[in-house]
Subunit: 196 residues, 2 copies
Amino acid sequence: MTAATRGRRRGSPDTRAAILAAARARFAESGFAGTTIRGVAGDAGVDPALVHHYFGSKDDLFVAALELPVDPRAVLAEQVVGPVEGAGERLLRALIGVWDDPALRPALLAMVRRLIEPGGDALFRGGFLPVVLVPLGAALGVDRPERRMQLVASQVIGVIVLRYVVRADAIVAMDVDTLVATYAPVLDGFLAGPLP
Amino acid sequence: MTAATRGRRRGSPDTRAAILAAARARFAESGFAGTTIRGVAGDAGVDPALVHHYFGSKDDLFVAALELPVDPRAVLAEQVVGPVEGAGERLLRALIGVWDDPALRPALLAMVRRLIEPGGDALFRGGFLPVVLVPLGAALGVDRPERRMQLVASQVIGVIVLRYVVRADAIVAMDVDTLVATYAPVLDGFLAGPLP
């Protein structure tokens, strides 16, 4: 199959791959705020309009560069956004639903490992936080979403590491209801409780 | 300086390194329970008595193989063991004290990254948990220390990742008292609260 028979909309696989590689390098080096579609296009040797055409907005390009099996913004919008009451439970159920799917887990694990490697701080602070987490906090209507979502992340990342990365038996053994009973009060406190 | 002038007690650096390399390989492959001093000694081509002489018990050998700048058991025994009331605060203060020391942090970061890499699950479940964490829970007198210490770890690891690995600004900016006010209630709930 040639590039032409795949249709112009998907673009040449080589061009798409070159844009994604350029985007990953730029986001890692300059963070989300310091990266422009124009700069990525220049690095990839294509017109900026082509980047928009293939990938949409800069947010979309960032999420595409993460190479996740699901768009976390879509999962959160469908399953988590709503009243802040119950948000901890909804977030946990959405998270466990995605992570407990064996088809999705390898790519999710790869992303967590990239976050923790040297350079992963830019990926988190410069991208995942402003593109995915802070908008979720804003959509939940919490005050100080920047701070509260970092507290939420500090518990959620720990649960992910214990349950899916190091597979600690007591955390692996918990069913979804037990996980919710254990962690939703912590998350609700971080989302809506008093901040020290 | 020859090995002889360094004194017999420290041992030949080559022999010590060979024992540590063999220990790391065994612990990673067989976990803590499945590793014996005799097996490590055989892999390193030395007498088991020499392993005991250089490194002490199997617990001590495991901690030595982690190549940490401090022995976590000593820090916990000195600063955290005591009544379960206030244990969350003592644990956080000990943890932050060690991690905020720039001389210690590179080796601690290296250990966290090893935990999260493929194979790190054996290091955690087969070693760090039974050698360091569960004995701490037992020393604090909690019921079901195996389960409660995994809950504690699920919050502590998240704080470490956010503050020291991805350096999320709101978590980095918290002073020790604010971290304690934020996270000690969570840890105290995991240590002494009702379990779902």
